[in-house]
């Protein structure tokens, strides 16, 4: 077990803000693990994702350290793939699906367009886009939200990065598609031995497949640890609240039901 990145005392303050969005975080990212970053709105979970990817907006002040085992921060696109919540804003509307998936491999792996297109076709098949050869020539608006998110995942993985960050990548999708995309991500990172950072507000969704969880609230790390341990014996009151707020089909309803 080796740390891919040691985050030490990391704080991020956006331009024009006095309150830090991320406040003195200490966290290790282990190579090859599936780490879920869990928090509600304003918890700082997306700020952490962007700090790791070097995607913070200009003017954001960063204090503390991110020590990467390679000595250098990962290059987005080549060493690190990023999947955003809304694929319709992360995909370019005027480029074909094929161009967008091929572009990363062409640029970072220095492939010819022809070889990159071949790789893109293969990637689209791996993310289970139906009729990948047709999809190569399609534009984003011609696909459903779930299919667009599969394309965004294919594009993020095109250059075979060692690490994938999925920032609420399934939150805009309906539940059936969400379940499919989560199992697809899980399978892809497992096959490739990638590190997955899965940012979510949904503790139950993370509990199904993450190796470790880190719970964030108001810019601070509340607690972190092995998923089973944190969920079966949470130390912090906030983690307990999150677990107690979870509803699934076994949760007693709020209404009185007529006896069947």
């Amino acid at each position: 077990m080796s740390a891919l990145c040691e985050i030490r005392n990391l704080s991020v303050t956006y331009r024009g803000q006095t309150v830090p969005a991320l406040n003195q975080i200490d966290l290790d990212i282990v190579a090859g693990e599936r780490l879920a970053i869990i928090g509600e709105s304003g918890s700082g979970k997306s700020t952490l994702a962007r700090a790791l990817a070097g995607l913070l907006p200009s003017g954001a002040r960063l204090a503390g350290e991110m020590r990467w085992s390679s000595g250098l921060p990962p290059l987005p696109g080549r060493d690190l793939g990023f999947v955003f919540q809304d694929p319709s804003s992360s995909l370019n509307p005027v480029l074909t699906i094929g161009e967008q998936v091929a572009e990363g491999a062409r640029r970072h792996l220095r492939l010819s367009w022809k070889a990159a297109y071949g790789g893109a076709l293969e990637m689209l098949a791996r993310v289970r886009i139906p009729e990948p050869d047709k999809a190569m020539k399609a534009f984003p608006h011609q696909l459903s939200g779930g299919q667009r998110q599969r394309v965004a995942i294919a594009a993020a993985l095109a250059a075979s990065p060692g690490m994938l960050i999925a920032d609420e990548a399934t939150s805009a999708l309906d539940m059936v598609v969400q379940a499919e995309i989560v199992s697809l991500l899980d399978e892809l990172v497992r096959e490739a031995g990638m590190t997955l950072i899965f940012i979510t507000h949904d503790i139950a969704l993370a509990s199904g497949f993450a190796d470790r969880v880190a719970i964030f609230k108001d810019g601070r790390l509340v607690e972190s640890g092995l998923t089973g341990l944190v969920l079966s014996s949470p130390k912090e009151a906030y983690t307990k609240t999150l677990i107690a707020s979870h509803r699934d089909l076994a949760t007693p309803p709020l209404i009185r039901e007529a006896a069947l």
């Binding site: 379940a179 998923t227 089973g228 709020l254 039901e257």
Partner: protein, 265 residues
């Protein structure tokens, strides 16, 4: 007496030269004080159905009876007057409000338009509405943008109940909220229903939310109603593939240390 009866409702859209059936021969009923959950994947037609019901879209065929009147035949002033009885709460509440509005003006509009209370009593009524949804009276002067998402959803509910409706259509009304706030909004909706006998048509893709508040459930898939019945019965013994898929997709909280397909660290 049945509050709402939807009969053989259909709606088709044209898409790229093809006709797509968004809602296909749907029939549903809703009783007073009852919550009907309407669940389906994206594109199943559930929002189209809600929009036809709200008279935001015309139907191609079929009928709707609401409070024993032909709801689709109403127009002009008659429709505006009757709308007081059927209100709606959306997912994106900020998008549903004038961004320059204050909380007071958001609540004043329905009271004025539907002439619910005389002008002199409106401020008191606004305070009472805010109190009913769990917000302090001094929130009235705030801008709608200044309040948090959960508070804004409470204001949307206050606006919906202001006209004393018999039916509220809730379209993904808690989907954008953090889980810790979501539960309290659902509790508020159930309290209001018990107190005032309001019926809800609750449209959502989230079966766990619908499970908490619905007496009956209707499952839609590709524009069709595939299954309907008491909530518990459908969850315990689903008949359609669509219902089974939706049930299977609800994330379960795994609290035991995971075994099985874990990788080597």
């Amino acid at each position: 007496m049945t509050l709402l009866a939807i009969e053989n409702l259909s709606k088709r859209f044209s898409s790229g030269g093809r006709k797509v059936a968004a809602v296909s021969d749907i029939s549903l009923t809703l009783e007073p004080g009852e919550t009907l959950g309407l669940v389906g994947a994206s594109g199943s037609g559930k929002s189209t159905l809600a929009r036809i019901l709200m008279r935001l879209l015309p139907a191609d065929a079929g009928a709707i009876r609401f409070e024993d009147k032909d709801w689709l035949a109403l127009s002009g002033a008659n429709l505006r007057n009757r709308r007081a009885k059927m209100q709606m709460v959306f997912q994106d509440v900020l998008g549903a409000f004038n961004p320059r509005a204050t909380v007071a003006s958001v609540l004043d509009d329905p009271l004025r338009i539907h002439n619910i209370v005389p002008k002199a009593e409106r401020a008191r009524e606004i305070a009472a509405l805010l109190d009913r949804v769990g917000l302090p009276a001094n929130y009235a002067q705030r801008s709608i943008r200044e309040v948090s998402g959960g508070q804004r959803q409470r204001i949307a509910i206050a606006r919906a109940i202001a006209t004393k409706p018999s039916l509220i259509v809730l379209d993904e009304a808690v989907s954008a909220l953090d889980v810790s706030i979501r539960g309290r909004i659902l509790e508020l909706l159930v309290e209001l229903q018990e107190e005032r006998g309001i019926s809800y048509l609750f449209v959502s893709h989230d079966l766990a939310v619908l499970r908490a508040v619905s007496h009956r459930i209707a499952v839609m898939d590709a524009g069709r109603l595939t299954e309907t019945g008491p909530m518990r019965q459908v969850i315990e013994n689903p008949q359609s593939l669509a219902a089974k898929a939706l049930i299977g997709a609800v994330p379960r909280l795994v609290t035991e240390p995971t075994e099985g397909p874990s990788h080597d660290v």
